[in-house]
Amino acid sequence: MPRSIRDLIIAVILVSLGLIMLFSSFEKGQSGTFMSVIYSVFKPINQTVTFIQERAAGLFNSYLWLVNVGRENRDLTQEVRRLRAQIVSLREKELENKRLTKVLELKSRLDFPTLVAQIIGQDASGFFRTVLINKGSDDGVLPDMPVTVPEGIVGKISRSSTVMAQVMMITDPGMSVDCRVERTRDRGLLSGSYSYSCLLQYVNKGAQIKEGDLVVTSGLDGIFPRGLIVGMIQSIRSSEHGLFLEAVVTPAAKLSEIEEVVVILGIQGGFSIEPGLESKH
């Protein structure tokens, strides 16, 4: 067989394989062996890189302080170095302690079994707003489980392997959450947006919502339990065709700063809406 024909056949086979995978990947679910293998390879690497980054940041800060201290008083350099390093270390521990205390408070507030996970990576491509966490199906983390932090919801599990899982954040345009405005009880569909962080759509035209109103989950999408904080209304406008109101919502959770998240373990893809968490805020 001529080489050019062989090359062409390989290219056609691979492109077809890619297209078949693309068009057959609409069904979501727990991933197969290949994904587990890939995630198993990447988990230790990602964790190591994250660990090194944290340590490097600590060293960098210590170094800057040392330069300043050296200028002020060279005789006390050694002592100051030790104390400064200790302060950095303690400050890190204090911050971690505060974060974990808040997470524990949230865990006790929720009426569902939960699991704390650490964020170990961001979306590789940057086109999607997803993060990787260090817990997977071995820990009970399955697709469509809600993910939250004490300040508000983060998103839901979009993929999981045995050791790692991927969280699609509420700011991704592919994400939708059924919500209510807490004060007026009006319902709307919250989705991510490239222009704004989140957009609450299909709100009744006559709704008396206003800027600053709190948006909470309604529990009617079958994924998020009722009453979890989503964010705050930033601005309101009429929708394109004038039939509904639209509100730009700022997520309550600072999604770019979170380091640990709480995965709400429950029936995959569905919750009883009975518990209701509004009274526990």
Binding site: A11, V49, S195
Partner: protein, 166 residues
């Protein structure tokens, strides 16, 4: 085989950098796609068959580590690879200007395809901000070529010396 190993090791390393490091340096939405640069570099280098398999593999791994539906990045990367391989066959790609122009064009088209795919999947509406997103990401990615191309060239030469290949 030696190419496959090199492409896989470099590709996985770049993915780790993309996942863990680039987000700290660039705004997460606009961080450069180093994997696409590698794909273009492989295409311009001219190792066709090993390139096809490596690019397909790297695309799948990128899909798994991003929110993309499985199969999106293999298709995009294969298209980008074949385009750059075609250019390398027909033009003198030694000049940095040409390889940079190819990179800009390939990045722009590839990034547009991602949004078209999401639009076709009903996930997004076309908003003006998307064009800004594509342009800024294209610029950030193609600027990275200035650093990455010499790095890849020298790594490849070093790797060939190490394994004793021509």
């Amino acid at each position: 085989m030696k190419e496959l190993i090199f492409f896989a090791v470099v590709g996985v390393s770049l993915l780790v950098v993309q996942c863990c490091v680039l987000g700290q340096i660039f705004p997460p939405d606009y961080k450069p796609d180093l994997e696409l640069l590698l794909v273009i570099w492989i295409g311009l280098k001219g190792d066709y068959v090993s390139g096809l398999f490596s690019v397909f593999f790297l695309g799948i791994v990128e899909d798994l580590l991003s929110g993309a539906p499985l199969g999106l990045f293999p298709v995009i990367y294969l298209a980008a690879f074949m385009f750059s391989a075609y250019i390398s066959l027909n033009f003198d790609v030694e000049s940095f200007g040409l390889s940079w122009s190819i990179t800009i064009l390939t990045c722009f088209i590839s990034f547009c395809i991602v949004f078209v795919a999401r639009w076709l999947g009903g996930q997004i509406l076309f908003e003006p901000v998307i064009m800004k997103f594509v342009i800024v990401k294209t610029i950030s990615t193609s600027l990275c070529l200035i650093l990455l191309k010499p790095l890849l060239d020298s790594s490849w030469k070093g790797y060939c010396r190490l394994i004793g290949a021509a």
